[in-house]
Amino acid sequence: MWADGKPIVNSLGTFLEIFLQALTAGILIGAIYGLMCVGLGIIFGVMRVINFAQGEFLMLGMYFSFFIVVGFNLLWFLGPVLGPYTGALLAGPALFAVGYALHCLLISRVTGASVVGTEGDGHYAQLVLTLGVALVLQNGCLILFGSTPQSVRTPLSARAWEIPLLYDANASLFLNKARTVAGIVSVVAAIALYLLINSSRLGKTLRAAADNAAAATYMGIDVDRAYRIAFGIGIGITAIAGGLVATYNPFQPYIGLDFVIIMYAGVVLGGMGSILGAFWGGMTIGLVQQLSTLVLPTQLQNAAIFVIFLLIVMVRPQGLFGRATDRI
């Protein structure tokens, strides 16, 4: 085979092309997963709440975007390209309100100062309560919206940019336009959130409440209100990610389940309590998922994510960026 160089270059070239394709897909999808994980990461980082219903809020974000863009066509003036992305972004504040309200009504009763010292510190109750919320949301939406898959199509969904690869005239990289834009928007949103959390007074208040709730109270910070806001933001961010996913992926009320484990794997990988870590964690999961298509059949990709999740939890529970002192 060495004598005739061409075949080896070709097969290598083809492999490289497929590899680069998977890599770019992984980066783009990873960015969106990263955004989702950041949403969950805020909730877990600030409040130490495991929200089983996070996937359902992703789903609600998708439906919200769908209804204002397609269903009620409220954004007709923005055109077919800007409309869906604006819809996705608007899902943020809308679901922030939903999350804030949900926390006031339900979540706060099983978290926060009132349960410290009870059996298991209320963790058990949180887990189960959010499971209940997940079931209600999933099936409630099934009732309201039906099981027909929907999507928020844009003209970009079916088109792709072609980037020629320099080493071979015939090889090129296809970037699905919808995914690419979604990925970019995700990164922008994540950066905006990072700036908010790091530099704004509100963000610092949330970080203080997350770091040491008792000390924060001594400083005069209303920690319960901080929790409500953090929960709302976490839900809102994940909803935006949902709206973005909706532009290239069809969805139905049960789609949350597919993403819950991705979000948790990403947050745990990145290190609970680190927003930056959550983003990188999500990115890594996306990369792993897309790269695994090179070696695994489709159905096993998701199983691979579970295996990774289990490995992380057993081997390095504090994740890549988490503090080693974080007790499990």
Binding site: E119, G120, L131, G132, V136, N139, Q299, A303
Partner: protein, 591 residues
């Protein structure tokens, strides 16, 4: 005095339930209701299985679908590929479920609370994808017209009802045995306070593994029967989240940690959701999920441990409180005064040599060395943060020292787990007493006897003896939730004594007691010491300790400042400095 609750009542209830259920099955002819009569027991069995692992131990599992699905698929694959009848397939499935329990439990038990629950969620979901990939999207069970009964296929539906009831009765009996034996007690102890259970000699890891093996086997049996009844298996229906959720909800709704809980839960929730599904399912698909979701939310908010407990607590509150007199301590004259051998002449029973432990950069205990003589009462004192509790944790086995050795009665303790240390004869009481509030005092104490007795009768005898030693016998049958502070401490002491320790480590036993109660406890400790038990006590209430301890070890900043008799300690300049500050003497001198 009852050593344990009679088994007759629950057995009667189980028997009558079984008879009633089968009777119902004989009457009902509508096939839909017949299906329901079959499903309720199956889900009750799932709930019982969940209860055995999660209800008693408090380790919430969101992944019981893994065992259920494995059981279902074992039966299915055995029948489809190997022509093995479900009569054998179900027991085979139970073995698979048990093995899965070991495989899953071994790595996952190292995780705490939330991580445990999340990981348990991952297993069935991973299996779901694997089975889909393997090509088992939808597997119908083949009809065996030649010999249907041999293959567990019956035209008369009522046989299925009987089979389901048989499985339920078996599971109830297993749960009953678990609950009433030391198995259940060990699990409850783990839930209540795992470190304390370890210190009492319970090998917590071993018991958790046993729990998951039993739980997995039962869940697999339920799955196997489910496959036989429904005649078609899909990955989603057996490995899906709803299955795990149902196992959890049924137990949680009805009552966590008690035999009857899953029965109540299944009897209420399954008919409710199935009926709604049947009547409204076309119009409102997903009504089942909504019902379960709402049920969970309501239960968590209003009756966090399930309906059974809520009702029972309410009923018990209505009853007038039992008029038991407060048990007086034995009169002083009856207390045996301390032994005549002066401390110096007794042999050392515990030797600590060069013990050190650091956390990060902080030296919690630095190069500690001292001996404890057999039968003495040694006090460990020192200002806040001196390292006293860390020292105890090192002696007990909760922490491994960085350096140094601990030798007890000829055995080296360094590196042993707390339950092994307990079995060698060291007991421990804790500052905060975590009792099992719903169990009697006797049942609270018996846990401490498991390490040293092999059967339940001996364990209860040891527990009663310990209660006699602390003069709490009159309260043996009182529910622990109603005890006073002092009685709780006595119960905690009895639990440690039930293991017949040679040496007892007590962490701040006098905290929160009134002065007369302190006197009583001091007298008790003295009399126990006279009977041969060695005591090592951490305490802050100096006045009391001065009269109790024969010797003191004074710690400061992790180091041993001095060891000596009370009169020497009080006047030791270094000790005064440790407590009152370096400048005390200087200031006073200038004063």
């Amino acid at each position: 005095m009852q050593a344990r609750r009679s088994l007759i009542a629950p057995l009667l209830v189980i028997a009558s339930l079984a008879v009633a259920w089968i009777g119902l099955g004989l009457i009902v002819s509508n096939s839909y209701y017949q299906l329901m009569l079959t499903l309720v027991p199956i889900w009750a069995v799932m709930g019982l299985s969940w209860n055995i692992l999660s209800g008693y131990t408090g380790l919430v599992s969101f992944g019981h679908a893994a065992f259920f699905g494995l059981g279902a698929y074992t039966v299915t694959i055995a029948l489809v590929h190997f022509d093995i009848t479900p009569w054998l397939g179900i027991p085979l499935g139970m073995i698979v479920g048990a093995i899965a329990g070991i495989v899953i439990g071994y790595p996952t038990f190292r995780l705490r609370g939330q991580y445990f629950a999340l990981s348990m969620l991952a297993y069935p979901m991973a299996l779901l994808y694997v089975f889909e990939w393997l090509g088992y999207q939808e597997v119908p069970l083949p009809m065996k017209r030649a010999a249907p009964a041999f293959y567990m296929q019956f035209s008369d539906y009522r046989v299925y009802i009987a089979l389901a009831v048989a499985l339920l009765v078996t599971s109830l009996l297993i749960s009953l045995v678990v609950e009433r034996s030391r198995f259940g007690m060990a699990l409850i102890a783990i839930k209540q306070n795992e470190p304390a259970a370890e210190a009492a000699g319970i090998d917590t890891f071993a018991w958790k593994m046993r729990a998951i093996v039993v739980s997995g086997a039962i869940a697999a049996a339920a799955g196997g029967l489910y496959a036989v009844v429904l005649l078609v298996v899909t990955p989603g229906s057996v490995f899906g989240m709803l299955t795990s959720a149902q196992a959890l909800i049924v137990a949680l709704f009805g009552g966590v940690g008690i035999l009857w809980g899953p029965l109540i839960g299944a009897a209420i929730l399954i008919p409710l959701s199935e009926t709604l599904q049947a009547h409204l399912g076309d119009v409102v698909p997903g009504i089942q999920g909504v019902v379960y979701g709402v049920a969970i939310i309501l239960v968590v908010l209003l009756a966090p441990e399930g309906i059974f407990w809520r009702v029972r607590d309410y009923v018990q509150r209505q009853r007038p409180p039992s008029a038991l007199p407060v048990m007086p301590m034995p009169p002083r004259a009856a207390v045996v005064e301390p032994a005549l051998t002066p401390p110096r002449q007794r042999k050392p029973i515990l030797s600590v040599n060069g013990l050190s432990k650091s956390f990060g950069g902080l030296r919690a205990v630095a190069d500690a060395s001292f001996d404890v003589s057999d039968g003495e009462i040694l006090g460990i004192i020192g200002p806040n943060g001196a390292g006293k509790t860390t020292l105890f944790n090192l002696l007990n086995g909760y922490l491994q020292p960085d350096n140094g050795k601990v030798v007890f009665a000829g055995h080296e303790l360094t590196g042993l787990k707390p339950n092994r240390v307990c079995r060698l004869g060291i007991g421990r009481t804790f500052q905060v007493v975590r009792a099992f509030p719903r169990l009697s005092v006797l049942n609270n104490v018996v846990v401490g006897a498991y390490a040293t007795t092999s059967n339940d009768a001996d364990a209860f005898a040891a527990a009663s003896k310990a209660l006699a030693q602390v003069a709490l016998v009159a309260r043996s049958d009182t529910i622990a939730g109603g005890l006073s502070n002092k009685e709780l401490r006595l119960m905690e002491l009895a639990r440690a004594l039930a293991g017949e320790p040679r040496l007892l480590l007590m962490d701040e036993p006098l905290a929160g007691l009134a002065s007369q109660e302190i006197e009583d406890l001091l007298a008790l400790i003295r009399s126990l010491a006279a009977q041969g038990t060695t005591f090592v006590i951490i305490e802050h209430t100096m006045r009391a300790m001065m009269r109790l301890a024969e010797r003191f070890v004074v710690l400061d900043h992790g180091r041993i400042l001095t060891v000596g008799q009370p009169s020497d300690i009080i006047n030791d300049g270094k000790v005064i400095e440790a407590y009152l500050g370096q400048k005390w003497a200087a200031i006073r001198a200038h004063g």
